[in-house]
Assembly symmetry: C2
Homo-oligomer: 273 residues x 2
Amino acid sequence: MAIPQSDEFNILMNKRPNLQQCADPQTECIACPIRKMALFRGVPEEELGWTQEFRDAQYLLPARETLYREGDIAHSIYTLFDGWVILFKILDNGKRQILRFVLPGDFFGFQVNGTGAGAGYTHGAQALVGSTLCVFPRTRLRSMMEKQPQLAIGLAEMGMHDMTLCQHHLIGTGRKNARESIAFLLLELFYRVRMQMQNGFDEATDSIIFPLTQEDIGDAIGLTSVHVNRVLKEMEREELIRCQRKRLTILGEETLMEIGQFDPGMIAPKELV
Amino acid sequence: MAIPQSDEFNILMNKRPNLQQCADPQTECIACPIRKMALFRGVPEEELGWTQEFRDAQYLLPARETLYREGDIAHSIYTLFDGWVILFKILDNGKRQILRFVLPGDFFGFQVNGTGAGAGYTHGAQALVGSTLCVFPRTRLRSMMEKQPQLAIGLAEMGMHDMTLCQHHLIGTGRKNARESIAFLLLELFYRVRMQMQNGFDEATDSIIFPLTQEDIGDAIGLTSVHVNRVLKEMEREELIRCQRKRLTILGEETLMEIGQFDPGMIAPKELV
DNA sequence: CGTAAATTTGAGGTGCATCAATTAAAGTGG
DNA sequence: CCACTTTAATTGATGCACCTCAAATTTACG
């Protein structure tokens, strides 16, 4: 049975032929398991029909696929429902800087250059694993926020959280050595995945699905994959971590936290007052 | 004549004995020359009496003085009215990472750890030059936003802008060499100061007041002051900049923009749609 | 005008990059 | 399920951008 397709979807498909519309039934906002962590966290239950109407649909993005490139016209903004997405920027010299690791519940795609409908994304976005996205039309965001202040507050709060993470990455690249900032990154991602308790965390082995390559790690904290490898190997020899076959286990949590100067409270979700 | 002092002020003075209340008359929000760049950008004129009531007062913070330290209970949030403020974090090893340069119109002090009235700042704040601050009670922010959605939207927009700057700093420390990221930083600050056309920009010489020490520059982009000095000296020899006596002149704008991969559009104020 | 703070310059060391080649793992079509 | 191909991980040798330490000089400031 054919699924009816919106204009948004057609625009999207035009640019990204690999994006697939989900089969019915799609997750309703009212039944969304990650809602309390996501954009609509502050919206009361009785209003959720309205958020549902704002949302365009859910889409599947296969692993390694690009969602958008820097400069693409920003038709849509996204909440990641399931999977892993990276936001990044490519420099003139060809080097890549990963700006953010997007995990389920995170909102992204709202950072643009320019104004109005023709504004372009400031960065690129790519899936690390097969991912499910909730897609919203960007041009309606402002009017939606004016109607529903909770949405704006939620956005400001999530922005604050993202900002904190970004600042910690800045500290990592600016003022920590390779060992310290790798320890921090591994712990940060481990805690963020474990916090949501649904997406690849295995309680039995205290491990998570970890789809980053060593090159991804390097591009996040400003190192070459060669040097990342040396540090990771050393940490494995010291029995601080196990990082194999796309799975990460933290063995020496205490020690790693000291090395990376990591404290879970630093990356806890933020609230405005 | 004694100025009546609010509870907020007393709390503030208790912790920061060097903060001085401005003499009357203080700038009214309705007459504020930087309002359109600041937190209340979206608030219609007829509502400004209300923003005025939200604001506690304006205060003076002398040069080099600390406004708050990391971990201090966050009673207040701030808009910088005039001056330069840096937000920073000190690591265990004593190194300092500057997270943000706050210029007039910028909003800060809302990033906290924890919830409720006892939450603490995630970072420290310090004035580089004598600065004037608009102070707001943090605990009323949420209710204010619920009453006035434009405030939440403004906050989200400013957050987006700050995030973009932070990401560019991340790119600088992570994926650029000393020369490139110094060029970027100088241009960024130069453009941001010139954009507001009021605060130390001298049209005749195309120069700005530039209160950073070479150590400040280094702590912003992850270099030692020694190495910053060598790069700056080289740039002066090449007649790309003049950076003396707390004043910065850009001589080779084109070349510098190429070196730093800087484009003014990247740091233009952001709007949601 | 004296003292502290910031800048400047030199010499020597190191953490990470670069280049290069091998091995292991993951993906793909038959 | 296996051969084939591609991608990622691993290891070694060498180099350089930036750090560290240290001392001289200039500038800011009470």
